[in-house]
Symmetry: C2
Subunit: 328 residues, 2 copies
């Protein structure tokens, strides 16, 4: 990039570096004559200010660090797109760092951000609060996404699983379904836990029978779960899987077993992956881009006025499609 420095510009314009700096930053107290000389010199030399040096002396970088785990497919691009939307609107750059491996790598990633960014957005589903606390000194502006949050009061944004789940259960109940099955995600996963828990609560509220079987978010596990249920002779008229993948697996097994969907059994999932639309699967749409955008907005808010502790919930939205449209 243009290697000219502000001192080169000053020399060529026959003024001091202070005047150049003032002229470039549009300060008031600069004469027209000086302003013009500086502008000429800048053009002649192709001068572009050195952002690194600038941020060192200003203690401000106009960049936001984003630390994400390995994310699959849509999720990554959508969340970054949302952040970028807000960032480019407000003139910030995004400094990206995926952390694949384990804890040390995460700490390294976070440390590498020091002195480069004004704030951080961190999504670290496999780090505990305590571990995060070590790597993130108190006082540094951070917004957490979907981290296991234990009351510590750091600003955070969470997906509101309960809202999504209860919308599905309410919908199924309204369609006359009375014996619901939930295929849960893997035991260690926070979202999976919250969804299963909310499912039980919602069923109780609507006075419908409920049962929870285990899955692990893969399509196969959804198939296997329903397979087992069918051969055990258990009766049910709706299946709600903790994600779309498992719902699709369930769908295939149900149809193979001669069940009509939605007439005999309604099916619903969670996430609204592109395939869900194609297949006509009722699901819960998570607006991932909006989540990312909101996280950045929140962080910028903190940078501006320092305020805003506590968690914020991001509500997903019920999308009713063919697999649940008919009443029983």
């Amino acid at each position: 990039m243009g290697e000219a420095t502000i001192r080169d510009v000053a020399r060529r314009a026959q003024v001091s570096v202070a005047s150049v700096s003032r002229a470039l930053n549009g300060l008031e107290n600069v004469s027209e004559r000086t302003r013009a000389k500086v502008a000429d010199a800048v053009r002649d030399l192709g001068y572009v200010p050195h952002a690194g040096a600038r941020s060192l002396s200003l203690a401000r970088s106009n960049a936001i660090g984003v630390v994400l785990p390995d994310l699959y497919g849509e999720f990554f691009s959508e969340i970054v797109r949302g952040m970028d939307r807000e960032a480019s609107r407000t003139g910030y750059l995004l400094l990206l760092s995926n952390m694949h491996g384990r804890k040390e790598q995460a700490v390294t990633a976070l440390h590498a951000m020091r002195g480069r960014v004004d704030g951080l957005i961190v999504m670290a589903p496999h780090l505990s609060e305590a571990e995060l606390g070590q790597a993130l000194p108190a006082g540094f502006p951070v917004v957490l996404i979907n981290t296991r949050s234990e009351e510590n009061g750091r600003p955070a944004i969470h997906l509101d699983n309960a809202v999504g789940v209860s919308a599905v259960v309410e919908h199924l109940a309204a369609m006359g379904r009375t014996r619901l099955v939930h295929i849960a995600g893997p035991a260690g996963n926070l979202d999976a836990q919250e969804r299963a828990e909310a499912f039980r609560r919602s069923c109780a509220e609507h006075g419908v029978d409920c049962e929870v079987v285990q899955g692990d978010f893969t399509e196969e596990s959804g198939s296997a779960a329903i397979d087992a249920l069918l051969s055990s002779g258990r009766d049910f008229d709706a299946v709600f899987a903790a994600n779309d993948n498992m719902a699709l697996g369930a769908l295939q097994v149900l149809r193979a077993a001669g069940k009509r969907v939605p007439e005999d059994v309604a099916v619903a999932g969670f996430d609204d992956i592109p395939l869900a639309k194609l297949v006509g699967l009722t699901t819960v749409r998570v607006n991932i881009a909006e989540l990312g955008q909101r996280a950045l907005e929140r962080l910028l808010g903190i940078l501006a006025d320092g305020g805003g502790e506590g968690e914020e919930m991001h509500a997903p939205e019920l999308v009713v499609r063919a697999t649940s449209e008919a009443a029983r």
Copy 2:
């Protein structure tokens, strides 16, 4: 982040800043005793080096700037994933900047990178070489992706659209299709232009009828295009969309209109997004992640030995699936 500076560490460890710096950077000439004192002080203070200051004095940031246009769906996440793969392997960070709007915004985006990154990867399908040249002083390490390249010899990586398109047309012709429709991408987009151009050429070579209709890379535009075509009563036996998104949109409309795929109409796309495999869509596989990774490798190579001018083509690969498998 830890606000302690290297001088704080030096004071607490009772040594000079130079010794601290040497100890932290693992230089040889530091006594064990000093090394230990520094390590203690660093731990006590929670010191993390200020990367901005470091890169200012080293004239090296360990960051790579990535400037991308608005990209749709998978493409963005895949290309960034590929770059990230290489970046985290080699200890680089990615500084991301999407440029949506017009030229000035692009120039601003590029200038914002000055003094923050060691090199740039730029994908600017809507900027001419000349425009780019102004914003990118010669001598700064850059790798261009899919830019309108006019012989200027900057290192670049291009997707070989012609190879992919001609493979599809040849395949469709071999399957007995004779009236092909191409749904093109947005007018300003280089890939879209190249694909449409190659389509016309390939059709002529294989002696089949061809028609090009306009789309904009979104699924909806694919649906709309075929919708319009069907209601105009035009006849065709194969649809080749400039990307998979539009092909999927077309697929839905065709089926909704009672056409059998592939018996009545064959369908093909471009990109091979994950959904394409699930749906059985014939397409051209672009290993996008590999493209991104390759771009970064190339850039790192340039940083290391300065060499490597010229363009490099990245050939995509035909993937035949159910939507085109049956001969007419």
